[in-house]
Symmetry: C2
Subunit: 201 residues, 2 copies
């Protein structure tokens, strides 16, 4: 991108697209060309969809999900179990769990995990909101569905400690061999967790 | 993407972004999350840049380049050599040649290459416009800078035949070992071309 190509508008579009995760400077250029070439089928609808997102989509003040209604459609859904809050790091995790179609509860998005080296302490995550919700009386269980990484697990420990005074039951996802997983390809940590948590048949 | 996530607006944005080359369904979801999370720094500026592209950028009626002015800034540039037209398949090729900074001529974008199996015959490419321009009197040489692929080269042969009656000189890019290329990693076709076109030192 050392040389200007065709006008500052295209240049700026390439630079902004290159900041989208999954695209780099080179693929952003390809993407811009494809967008301009498929103006009516792709560029215009995508621009409209993004404008809709700008205008309508906001963070749910209750759980941190992203939606066009506020509170979000999950928080508003009367069929969801008020007794269980599933805590996730990011909205993407919430989406992944929703796709799995097994959870019929409320969510709470922390907005990341604790990372002291990056300056992300408890005050940067939406932990206060979770404590308020957990203390509301309806909630019986908080499931900490955080990533099985060092950061995710230390965040889970911290949140669990903070939840202790509220008296709600705190749980975490089971760890073990993923469905379809071949033992030969799994890391030792996963195998050790699966062994320790083995179940009687 | 089997299950709806959070509202049709997000869903539609994911689906449209997944059609951008370089992104798939999974990376489009990640991209949408990143856009929504970085609303002010990324989503809004990118949406504005795309709206600008929709409003302002059009195909140059003369050469097929994409620009905000019409004819495009290259066609309007008085310092460019009117005697040479560089013919390319796509606007991306034009950009690549411009980045190389060695061409100070006019361009002509065909809009693809001949591909009878895909139903792309000469009438689908902007060949008529090229013949008109080549016959204008100013043009002395047409450089067919088409891809060194089977389709690119057969398109070059076809265009060259069509240009013959106009009497302009028709050339193509040199073929050989790319700068920095290691012989061990080059295909036999490139090596054969480099051998045949060898030059005296």
């Amino acid at each position: 991108m050392s040389k200007k190509i065709a006008g500052p508008e295209i240049e700026r579009l390439v630079q902004l697209l290159a900041r989208v995760p999954g695209l780099g400077p080179r693929s952003a250029r390809k993407a811009v060309l494809a967008l301009l070439k498929r103006r009516n089928e792709l560029l215009i609808p995508l621009t409209e969809a993004m404008q809709q997102a700008v205008d309508k989509i906001a963070e749910c003040p209750q759980c941190g999900n992203l939606d066009t209604v506020s509170p979000c459609s999950i928080c508003q859904d009367p069929r969801r179990d008020d007794g269980l809050i599933v805590v996730v790091e990011e909205v993407g995790d919430l989406w992944a769990l929703e796709r799995s179609n097994v959870i019929n509860a409320r969510y709470h998005v922390l907005g990341g995990h604790l990372s002291p080296l990056d300056g992300i302490g408890p005050e940067k995550l939406n932990i206060a909101g979770l404590l308020t919700r957990a203390a509301s009386g309806d909630v019986k269980e908080v499931l900490l569905a955080l990533n099985a990484t060092v950061e995710g697990q230390s965040t889970a420990h911290y949140v669990s400690d903070r939840l202790a005074p509220s008296g709600v039951s705190v749980s975490r996802l089971a760890q073990g061999v993923p469905i379809g997983g071949e033992l030969d390809y799994l890391d030792e940590g996963t195998l050790a967790a699966a062994f320790k948590a083995r179940r009687k048949l």
